[in-house]
């Protein structure tokens, strides 16, 4: 929508024949042809479709990016450095791409040029399919100045001055141009001609190691996809083996015949290059792929990201190292990878001690993937427990509540053990109580702001109590009796924090 009301953003071939063009006011177009069929523009949908197509184009080159739509239509940029020979040279690549786009029902203009600017200009303003293999300034000279990716104002101003072709600008004194139009004009010109660099921001970082398979017949069945996956995994494993690497992150991409692509990603806890293991991990992620296959996948690529060095060690040495540190051995890695892939990295955890006397902070679960390749790492729990509970192994409960639950307790004031308490509407009579074990607040952390935020900010007196049925709990009294600055209420509150076996 512009000042002049709704405008046309895109037209089809029939409209083009009627003389309509993008940027025209809708009212004008209707005046020319009252029976015009009009649909609202879906910018977000277009952008998404373009991004999807750019992803699909990764089956031609790992470096692709969608080009934001403007008055000249939308585009996709591919960096085909080192890729063209796979398709029989640049002509072959263009032919393959053009054939695909025709099949998708898209009207595409394709150009190959040494610079981003030149490729942009040739694809939008050039005649048909072009490969710029001659001198760039010759190829660009006949094109209108709009092909330089200029803003509308500069474009109009240049046209008014009679500088209508790029050729009119090449070789002109630069100082007056900069003075009149700003730096952008000369910069764009230099970029198009290759005198100035321009970075290519790809949609996704390219994988370090990548293998691909193209199929004569599109794959539709899960069996075929799995077979292809195993072959890909073998290819990749061979590459990794050759270079002494192991992959920690893999991305499997499927390219469908109709310009749609799907991706599956897996992570491993330790660098791996076992084809069987990698294939198995990926196979488990193929749940819905058959439903997405549609007319079939014409290509699949498997890329390894996050690659680490792994030296081929003798098994005996590995065993020695394992026995020495006592941690989770490499033997566990395949199992852990599968669990992580199925349950999520946050749900497969190990315990890590933390230097705090507050029970809820003293041990915490950490994802097995958090430390790169360190599932064999061990912690000194013995020292930790010595510091926590003076080495008393029964000093800490087996089950701990992440959030202590309030209980109502009867106790002898000011600081006696509980005699009776009620937790979850069940009354427990205490037959034995041992304590208190006083845990002081960590004053170096921020003071409590509100009642709800006082966890761990008041002195706690812990008691191990046993009720008449032999159930054993870990209760604590929060705050000290009669100390207004330490106890937020007049009476200390009681909480249950854990259960002993």
């Amino acid at each position: 929508m512009s000042q002049n009301g709704p405008t046309i953003t895109a037209i089809n071939a029939a409209a083009n024949r009627l003389g309509l063009h993008p940027g025209m006011a809708l009212a004008d177009a209707r005046a020319i042809h009252p029976a015009l069929a009009v649909e609202h523009a879906d910018e977000a949908g277009d952008a998404e479709a373009l991004a999807r197509l750019a992803l699909w184009c990764q089956c031609f080159s790992p470096l692709t990016r969608p080009d934001a739509p403007d008055g000249n239509g939308a585009g996709i940029l591919l960096d085909i450095t080192g890729c063209a020979h796979l398709f029989g040279g640049e002509t072959g690549l263009i032919a393959a791409l053009a054939a695909r786009f025709v099949r998708f029902g898209l009207t595409a203009k394709i150009a190959i040029a040494p610079t981003i600017g030149a490729a942009w200009a040739l694809s939008r303003y050039g005649q048909g399919v072009q490969i710029a293999d001659g001198p760039l300034h010759e190829a660009l000279a006949p094109l209108p100045v709009a092909a330089l990716r200029l803003d509308e104002r500069t474009n109009v101003a240049l046209n008014r001055l009679g500088l209508k072709r790029i050729g009119d600008l090449i070789g002109k004194p630069r100082a007056p141009l900069v003075a009149r139009f700003g730096r952008e004009l000369t910069e764009r010109l230099d970029q198009a001609l290759g005198h100035a660099g321009e970075s290519f921001e790809a949609l996704a970082a390219p994988p370090v190691w990548r293998v691909e398979r193209r199929f004569a017949e599109p794959l539709i069945t899960l069996d075929a996809i799995e077979t292809a996956l195993r072959l890909l995994a073998c290819d990749l494993a061979r590459l990794l083996e050759r270079d002494g690497k192991g992959a920690r992150q893999l991305e499997l991409a499927f390219y469908r015949v109709d310009g749609w692509s799907a991706r599956r990603e897996v992570r491993t806890s330790a660098p791996s290059r076992q084809a069987r293991h990698l294939a198995r991990l990926l196979t488990e992620r193929l749940d819905a792929i058959e439903g997405d296959a549609g007319f079939g996948f014409e290509a699949m690529t498997l890329g390894a990201f996050d690659v680490e060095n792994t030296e081929t060690r003798q098994q005996a040495l590995a065993d020695d190292a394992r026995a020495a540190n006592g941690g989770l051995a490499p033997l566990m890695a395949p199992l852990i990878d599968r669990l992580v892939n199925r349950c999520g990295a946050d749900h497969v955890t190990r315990y890590e001690p933390f230097a705090s006397h507050l029970p809820e902070r003293s041990a915490r679960p950490v994802s097995v993937l958090r430390q790169a390749g360190q599932i064999a790492e061990t912690h000194d729990w013995k020292t930790h427990l010595d510091a926590l509970a003076d080495g008393a192994s029964f000093g800490r409960p087996l089950l701990l509540f992440a959030r202590p639950e309030p209980v109502t307790a009867m106790f002898t004031v000011p600081d006696g053990p509980p005699v009776r308490f009620e937790w979850r509407r069940v009354s427990h009579r205490v037959t034995r109580a041992e304590g208190p074990e006083r845990i002081a607040p960590e004053w170096w952390r921020a003071p409590p702001k509100s009642r709800n935020d006082r966890a761990g900010r008041l002195t706690r007196d812990y008691y191990r109590v046993e009720d008449e049925k032999g159930r054993r709990f870990w209760l604590y009294r929060e705050g000290l009796f009669g100390r207004a600055n330490d106890c937020l209420d007049a009476m200390p509150a009681w909480f249950i924090h854990g259960i002993f076996a």
């Binding site: 006592g326 051995a329 566990m332 749900h347 854990g498």
Partner: protein
């Protein structure tokens, strides 16, 4: 008399026959004496076939009531400690997320009372019983026992749809995988609190019913402040695939020797309290006399 049913009293002929049958039952090539682990007390071992807990099998622990979950967990960890003691390895702990809110999460320092190294624990949080069973199966199928591999898989079944998810087929899958790999599976059936048998039949080698047990009913004032370290549970072997189900035992876990030992059950004093008998009545029925 119930005592006659105990394996120790079974006739020599039956013993011989069992020894003949046993190799037929197990296809594995491992020698028989490596298939069980002692629980640390000869008296306790005697109630189990082959004098010990079978390795590479599925064992179930059923809490006797809602509040006995910690006891069942403690008993399972005691079993796991015995297994890890005999066969060093890692432990896979599969825990439903919602159970963490209800019963609390496993506290790593608390594990050390069972002689278990928190470094060797991998916790997997699952949402549903089906996922829990999948993780357990994966763990059991992963690799055989050995230094650096899995020694035991402990799972908690706490779903409400008990009968549908964990049924005979599911238990059979676990048991077969356990037998094949030699990794022991321990399943805490926190949702199967109905009936003493713990619901429908499963393929478990043993099923234990665990409840908390007080150390003394009414400690006098001067004993009120001492809390014995050893957890004490009332354990019943309600199912034993190849042996005789035993009756109720009171066992304690000794964290110094990392073994179970039998404790005498407490006297039933309810009649005393009711009739108001004096000191003389108590003296005539000492605690040890009531051990079954």
């Amino acid at each position: 008399m119930q005592h006659d049913l105990l394996p120790s009293a079974v006739s020599a002929r039956a013993r011989r026959l069992r020894a003949l049958i046993r190799p037929m039952e197990h296809s594995a090539e491992r020698p028989l004496e490596h298939r069980t682990v002692s629980l640390g007390s000869a008296e306790f071992d005697a109630i189990l076939p082959d004098n010990g807990l079978e390795l590479g099998a599925l064992h179930e622990c059923v809490p006797a009531g809602y509040s006995d979950f910690a006891a069942a967990l403690g008993f399972s960890l005691g079993l796991a400690a015995r297994i890890v003691h005999a066969r060093p390895g890692n432990v896979l702990w599969v825990f439903p997320d919602h159970c963490g809110f209800e019963q609390g999460r496993l506290h790593a320092p608390g594990l050390m009372a069972f002689g278990l190294d928190p470094n060797r624990f991998v916790e997997v949080g699952v949402r549903k019983t089906r996922a829990m069973l999948w993780v357990m199966e994966e763990g059991l199928a992963a690799n055989g026992p050995g230094e650096g591999a899995l020694a035991a898989v402990i799972g908690v079944e706490a779903g409400t749809r008990t009968g549908r998810d964990y049924d005979f087929t599911a238990s059979r899958r676990l048991a077969m995988r356990a037998e094949k790999s030699g990794v022991t599976a321990l399943l805490i059936r926190a949702s199967a609190q109905t009936g003493i048998e713990g619901g429908a039949a499963t393929a478990a080698a043993t099923r234990w019913r665990v409840a908390t047990e007080p150390h003394a009913p009414e400690p006098s004032a001067w004993r009120r402040h001492e809390n014995p370290d050893a957890p004490r549970w009332a354990v019943s072997l309600v199912k034993s695939k190849r042996g005789m189900p035993g009756h109720r035992q009171v066992v304690e876990w000794d964290h110094e020797t990392l073994s179970f030992h039998m404790a005498a059950a407490l006297a039933d004093r309810t009649s005393l309290h009711r009739s108001g008998e004096g000191i003389g009545g108590q003296a005539s029925r000492p605690e040890w006399a009531a051990a079954s």
